[in-house]
Symmetry: C2
């Protein structure tokens, strides 16, 4: 992993407030970026060079909430009331998912994510060994966690908890360090309080962060108050979850007080604008969260409720909807939205060395082809990325220093095989 190579003629989105773009050189050694600057670095005489002309280099996009295998149910039920969608469409099909289905669906999702510039994703699902296998093979970086629903007898609860522990322990740090793990009770409304406390204890024991769904719908918040006499933030705080580094998915319905508590406990939020809009869950209070210092990142959620895994779309939605809904055209400006999809994504996942283009960071980055009409004129590349770019502008992708997408084609997965197997898996589910 000592291979040294140099990008010249590059335009690099370093995303600092006072300097968003650097034009010049980037040096990669093994899995790490070791230099970015206008001047050619010293001591690179023998290094291989890569011509970055016409390309815009960005940190790889970070998708902080999803269920990759659910791409097998993309388009299987849309425009429905949430409970009907879950009860008539999603749950009956998901109950039939085998490990092989999860492998096929995850491979389909990872293919879409890699080609669309996502270099790190969080996945919360079942049959997680299969997900880890896809991550290992594809070269992507991932935070993996067995999401446990606790509405079951105590012995099944215990078995699922043991499985979550086993998975988190087995895979943490694997695949050249590309896989890390978390501990995830599915949600306050699907896990009894004493069961959530057990997960908190496990997270302490294994020294891992926690992840859960929270306050996605208003009904869920009202039910929490009815069942436990507290809104979800206070409920989870009392159960000790915020004593661990924690990432909450959705957090759509929050009071000022709850935002204050999240900020005080350094709890991160994965904002899923596409999914929240499509399922009519509402619009999260993102400008308020950001202004109070909460780290807000972006997630696609599963492809059954999105219905794609396009992080450019989530970045754009984050920049657009909060302006439209608040009436403030300065809300969530382009630079902030792009950081939500990159730097804040890595922070949400408690990663120290990914999410930015800077010396010392892991070499996870993507190159967009800017020689296209929608990148002109050359005014503001950050604006163009946020308000105009799309997944198929991604020309190349590198993760951990290794190229995984070249001229739009995936180097690590057999695209045709992945597509064929996903379709076959869906047909198998329908037939069973």
């Amino acid at each position: 992993m000592s291979r040294k190579w140099l990008i010249k003629n590059g335009t690099f989105a370093v995303l600092k407030e006072d300097c968003t773009i650097v034009r010049g050189y980037m040096l990669v050694e093994g899995d790490t970026i070791t230099y970015i600057g206008e001047q050619r670095p010293e001591g690179v005489e023998g290094a291989e060079t890569f011509d970055g002309k016409g390309l815009l280099f960005l940190p790889g996009l970070v998708n902080t909430h999803g269920h990759a295998a659910m791409s097998l149910l993309r388009g299987y039920g849309d425009d429905m009331v949430l409970q009907n969608w879950l009860q008539e469409k999603m749950w009956p099909m998901e109950a039939k998912f085998t490990g092989a289905d999860v492998y096929a669906g995850t491979a389909l999702s990872v293919l879409e994510m890699l080609k669309g510039g996502t270099t790190t994703f969080l996945d919360m699902y079942d049959h997680m060994d299969q997900v880890a296998k896809v991550v290992e093979e594809s070269g992507i970086r991932a935070v993996l966690t067995r999401g446990v629903i606790g509405l079951c007898p105590p012995e099944v609860q215990d078995q699922k908890l043991q499985e979550a522990i086993r998975f988190a322990r087995d895979w943490h740090g694997k695949a050249d360090g590309r896989i890390t793990t978390m501990i995830s009770p599915h949600a306050p409304y699907t896990c009894p309080p004493d069961y959530i406390e057990k997960f908190v204890q496990v997270a302490h024991d294994l020294d891992l962060p926690m992840h859960t769904h929270m306050s996605e719908t208003l009904a869920e918040v009202e039910q929490n108050v009815k069942d436990y006499g507290a809104r979800p933030v206070e409920h989870l705080r009392k159960l000790g979850m915020f004593s661990r580094p924690t990432l909450l998915a959705h957090a759509v319905h929050l009071t000022d007080e709850e935002i204050y508590v999240l900020a005080a406990h350094h709890v991160a939020v994965s904002h899923n604008p596409g999914s929240n809009l499509k399922l009519a869950s509402g619009v999260a209070r993102v400008p308020e969260l950001l202004s109070k210092g909460v780290v807000v990142s972006l997630g696609t959620d599963g492809a059954a409720s999105n219905n794609n895994l396009d992080m450019f779309e989530e970045i754009r939605l984050a920049a657009l909807i909060h302006k439209g809904v608040s009436g403030d055209p300065t809300a969530v400006p382009a630079l902030e939205a792009l950081k939500m999809g990159t730097e804040y994504g890595a922070k949400s996942l408690f990663m120290q060395n990914t999410g930015r283009l800077a010396a010392g960071m892991k070499a996870d980055f993507i190159a967009l082809n800017t020689e296209q009409a929608h990148f002109l004129p050359k005014t503001d590349y950050i604006s163009h990325v946020v308000y105009s770019a799309g997944p198929k502008d991604v020309e190349h992708v590198w993760i951990n220093g290794k190229q995984v997408v070249k001229h739009g084609a995936c180097l690590t997965l057999d695209e045709e095989k992945v597509r064929f197997e996903a379709q076959a898996a869906f047909e198998g589910l329908l037939a069973r």
Copy 2:
């Protein structure tokens, strides 16, 4: 124009309520679709065939509101308060636009639109002869209209009106019928009432439809009430505009009563969700408009306030934001959103024979490459187009029976030249 050719193995989005997709054959004769069906049509022995395997054929997308030349200002000012954006950024630059700039900006926009599957666009701007020239050369279909701002002395008002008349008369029906024209006072807040009445008379004299901006912002509605004692709908109705076929852009802020009046007068609305969100204008009452029978189509607005000309994004936004904001996940379902971007677009522009895939319609259609991860599994192609597709999934585009995009490359415009000249024009504007 009698050339006959047959698409076989095609999947055609005919978008009927009871049958959204037909698999089989489509016959094109000259500029017209003459057959779609599962069976091979009779009498096509000698016809050239085109293999549609792996392609999804859609009616071409129809963009019903925009200012194409403004792509020269893409990214030149973002995330600003509307009045500052206009006064500090847009207006000083637009005042410098020459005919050559309008040509360069329009060519850049038409290139982006063609490659992204838009086959018809409405353009309201200045130097419209240059816009017509680009339309003529590029093969796109367009509804063109000189947008007139009337805040000027009477002699200038009169000169602009004469120019609008001359343009509308000269170009209506030109370019093999691909160009039609409209009559456009810019907006109720930029044109005095007696001036708007003159445009209404002209529209009657030339038998042309009318187009204007209306109720984009709340401030504009309040000003209208203050200045004229009526909200914009009542104001325009009194001035006689709705006695003509009329298309209103934006119409964000409407009362129930105003929606009723628009429906009663068969006034169409161009909904511009991307621009309305970005400029924080608000969220139009689209579900209510549709339920009262108003024809609602989609527009990108200018690329300076969007910042792209991607109609897939507008279709998706239309399907997403009204669910999220209303709390109703069944609002604006996928099929309705796709019709807004196609069939309803053509209706909004008062075109009788475009906007659908059906025998007798003009041969304006596009083919998407569905052999990609985000089109799997093969559940519901309408859902995939609306919730998952993007502009670069467009493989081929035909307009008026003639192919203008082939394997993603534009056949009618020199892409490199268009990009170079747009950048040069922007630099010229900055330097002047």
